[in-house]
């Protein structure tokens, strides 16, 4: 897992908006009406940074938040509430007024009625995970904050607008330009956005705040982990999952990635990891969690047809993850689809027996190698060979080169955002190589190929563990062409041949084949 570089400094690229980890001060407020309140309030946590307070009737009294944190500076707040009757907008507003960071408040549900040991342990594990997530929170820059007004869909009178309507702040992504490779032509975030809010303009990704729907799908699409999305950033989600799975008891077996808009949360042993949208959960997240020892992992959606039009994508990823589990000799039902329901019936955790052995975990959910790492980790755990298979939602793929039509022009390797395809020149040969472990099935190589109409390249959505482990292999090679003047290699023999066939009688070796473009210009 990559450490968030912004956590290590107070003066970052975007200015002084960043808290040092050692400066984070957090508070957990527990509703005293919960049956597990006392157990959570007495949990053993890092007292230097975090305090736990038990407040009777907290669920129905958001004023208590301000009272509780008024005595000292608190920038991260976890509210453990037992009754789902609070207003999230109101609670967040109260938190901000108490000095908590804009996206520094998490609300977690704890049991209200059932009083047994298991539930108390589950709640404590949940709090531990939330604390880990809060400590990894990327502080929002001004550009990460989008203002929305509650009830803005309804008609409102002019008189009412003399008062500021209730505000809810939502995160919007910003791009860490120090790692973004949009300048090399990557358009993964742009292509993934269902609202066309991101655009690669001359190598710089522009975010249209007004169009952004705060779904976070771009976070999962970015091979560079360059999308910063406070509240739902990769590092926050990964820290939470790691903290939960590091709990060596029976309470951390089942993890569910839950859409922030889902109405009904599951109960039982489920550990809830909030995500902005179910579609921001890549298949690698599902596989990595199982590989790390979880009994099961689920995705909880908001509604069947969400605003992100993500139903098919989520279905496809779940089906892919189940296919991998089945091929690895595990029960495919350890990956579950938890459709949202408006009914009062809560979703029970699955009845699956599974290994409970866990190693210290380092979860890699997002980024260029997350998919291959998670599959290899799963393979290493089960020792069951996963046979190669093709799946339409495979997060990894194998580019197939037609060596008779490929001109070795290098466009595919230049377009590859992950470095899976590389073209290396030596004095006499140019070689196109593939490191399958780095491929993330983005299709940029195919989209960029000038010989696509001749079938020079196609992407096979094949998961091939052997290919992922053997390292770079040569897909195609050709003789190089060097400049007669400067002696530098400047193209391949096939590219030159293609040029000759295109230009016909206009082609002469002296004009196009003897000198590189630089020397040609000088001459």
């Amino acid at each position: 897992m990559t450490i968030n570089p912004r956590m290590n400094t107070t003066v970052g690229e975007s200015g002084v908006y960043v808290a040092e980890p050692s400066n984070i001060s957090g508070m957990v407020l527990v509703c005293g009406d919960s049956s597990v309140a006392a157990g959570v309030a007495n949990m053993n946590i890092d007292q230097g940074k975090w305090q736990v307070q038990l407040i009777d009737g907290l669920c129905g009294n958001s004023d208590a938040i301000g009272d509780a944190v008024s005595t000292e500076q608190v920038d991260r707040l976890i509210l453990a509430l037992c009754q789902g009757e609070y207003s999230t907008t109101e609670v967040q507003s109260r938190s901000r007024r108490a000095g908590v960071e804009t996206f520094g408040t998490q609300i977690i549900e704890i049991p209200s009625h059932v009083d047994d040991h298991a539930n108390k342990a589950v709640a404590i594990t949940t709090v531990r995970g939330s604390i880990a997530r809060a400590e990894a929170l990327i502080s929002a820059t001004p550009e990460n904050v989008k203002t929305t007004f509650s009830g803005s869909d309804e008609k409102i009178s002019r008189r009412a607008l003399f008062t500021i309507p209730p505000i809810e702040y939502r995160p919007v992504p910003t791009i860490d330009i120090s790692v973004c490779i949009a300048g090399s032509g990557c358009t993964q975030c742009e292509k993934s956005c269902p609202h066309s809010a991101l655009k690669n303009v001359a190598g710089v990704v522009n975010v249209d705040v007004a169009a952004c729907n705060s779904c976070g799908i771009c976070v999962a699409a970015c091979p560079q982990r360059a999308v910063e999305f406070p509240g739902y950033s990769p590092v926050e989600i990964e820290h939470q999952v790691e903290a939960v799975l590091a709990t060596h008891d029976e309470t951390a077996k089942d993890i569910v990635f839950a859409c922030s808009n889902s109405k009904e949360l599951p109960f039982g042993d489920w550990q809830i990891v909030p995500v902005a949208c179910a579609a921001m959960v890549p298949a690698s997240a599902l596989l990595a969690v199982v590989a790390a020892g979880a009994r099961s992992v689920g995705i909880l959606r908001c509604v069947e047809e969400c605003a992100q039009r993500s139903r098919e994508t989520v279905n496809g990823r779940i089906d892919y993850a189940q296919s991998i589990l089945g091929r690895a000799g595990l029960n495919p039902n350890r990956v579950l689809d938890l459709p949202s329901s408006d009914s009062d019936q809560k979703i029970a955790s699955p009845s699956i027996s599974s290994p409970t052995q866990r190693d210290p975990v380092s979860i890699d959910i997002f980024g260029r190698t997350a998919a291959s790492n998670s599959i290899l980790a799963l393979n290493a755990r089960t020792h069951v060979p996963i046979e190669p298979f093709v799946h339409p939602y495979s997060p990894i793929a194998i580019p197939i080169i037609n060596s008779s039509t490929c001109t070795m022009c290098g466009t595919c390797s230049a377009a590859c955002p992950t470095g899976a395809l590389t073209q290396v020149n030596s004095d006499e040969w140019v070689e196109l190589t593939l490191d399958a472990a780095k491929c993330m099935a983005c299709n940029e190589c195919v989209a960029g190929c000038p010989e696509i109409s001749n079938g020079a390249i196609e992407l096979e959505l094949r998961t091939d563990v052997t290919a992922m482990t053997i390292g770079p292999v040569i897909l195609n090679s050709d003789q190089t062409v060097s400049c007669d003047s400067c002696k530098n290699v400047f193209t391949s023999a096939r590219t030159l041949g293609k040029l000759e066939s295109l230009l016909g009688e206009d082609y002469t070796y002296e004009t196009y084949g003897a000198l590189c473009p630089d020397c040609r210009t000088l001459n």
């Binding site: 200015g15 908006y17 009294n61 004023d63 409102i156 002019r158 607008l161 008062t163």
Partner: protein
């Protein structure tokens, strides 16, 4: 329980005060205005606590508190700090405080930026003068202008003139969108790199305020338009 009862007029008035104060901070006339700026910072801080739940408030309150609590020694030093950062001293590499330096380095386009800001000023019925020695795209002039528009909006709300308030919001939104939001973030990075804590606080508060206000006014626009 804790409903938001803050008025649009209060928010516009707070914007007016904040922008005017920020304008004074970047004007560079510290010998004459230092005490007044600090005093005003304290006064604005005292009347702004209702905005504590808004996303711009932490940066604004840090700026106001720090400037309101400056001691005599710091006040005496602030002029030279300003000159070190922004002044045309031969030994230093000053941070430019005008929009053109960030957006349009070419000579031809300089005129375009200046003409554009002048057009915003004149359409609001005001004219920039050279009395202050600052050009129209200087940060202080632009802040003073956006503060002026905020003040007009506050007056309109106070006079129950919804249409005029909306018109003033539109003017602010357009100016923030076309000009300040484009270059203040870059200015902010430039100043942060110089490690001057006071002016870093000031430019961060400006950056946060500009970004917030543009986003706020954009989000509010559909409500204002459709209000009956």
């Amino acid at each position: 329980m804790g409903e938001n009862t803050a008025k649009m007029a209060d928010l516009a008035a707070l914007r007016q005060m904040s922008y005017s104060l920020m304008s004074a901070v970047f004007l560079g006339n510290w010998r004459d205005t230092a005490e007044l700026v600090c005093e005003t910072a304290g006064e604005v801080l005292a009347v702004s606590d209702w905005a504590i739940g808004m996303s711009f408030y932490p940066a604004l309150s840090r700026f106001l508190r720090t400037f309101s609590e400056l001691d005599t020694e710091s006040l005496a030093d602030i002029e030279s700090r300003y000159q070190r950062l922004f002044g045309p001293t031969p030994s230093s590499n000053p941070v430019p405080l005008n929009e053109t330096s960030y957006l349009m380095p070419g000579a031809e386009e300089t005129g375009w930026v200046l003409a554009s800001v002048e057009r915003h000023y004149s359409s609001a019925g005001i004219e920039s003068t050279s009395a202050s020695g600052n050009i129209p795209d200087h940060i202080s002039v632009e802040l003073e202008f956006i503060g002026f528009l905020s003040g007009c909006e506050a007056d309109a709300w106070a006079a129950d003139d919804f249409k005029e308030a909306r018109r003033m919001q539109d003017r602010q939104r357009r100016f923030l969108d076309k000009h300040m939001s484009k270059w203040v973030p870059i200015l902010q990075r430039e100043i942060v790199d110089r490690n001057d804590d006071l002016f870093t606080l000031a430019v961060q508060a400006t950056h946060v305020q500009v970004t917030h206000d543009l986003d706020f006014l954009r989000s509010l626009q559909p409500l204002m338009r459709s209000a009956t």
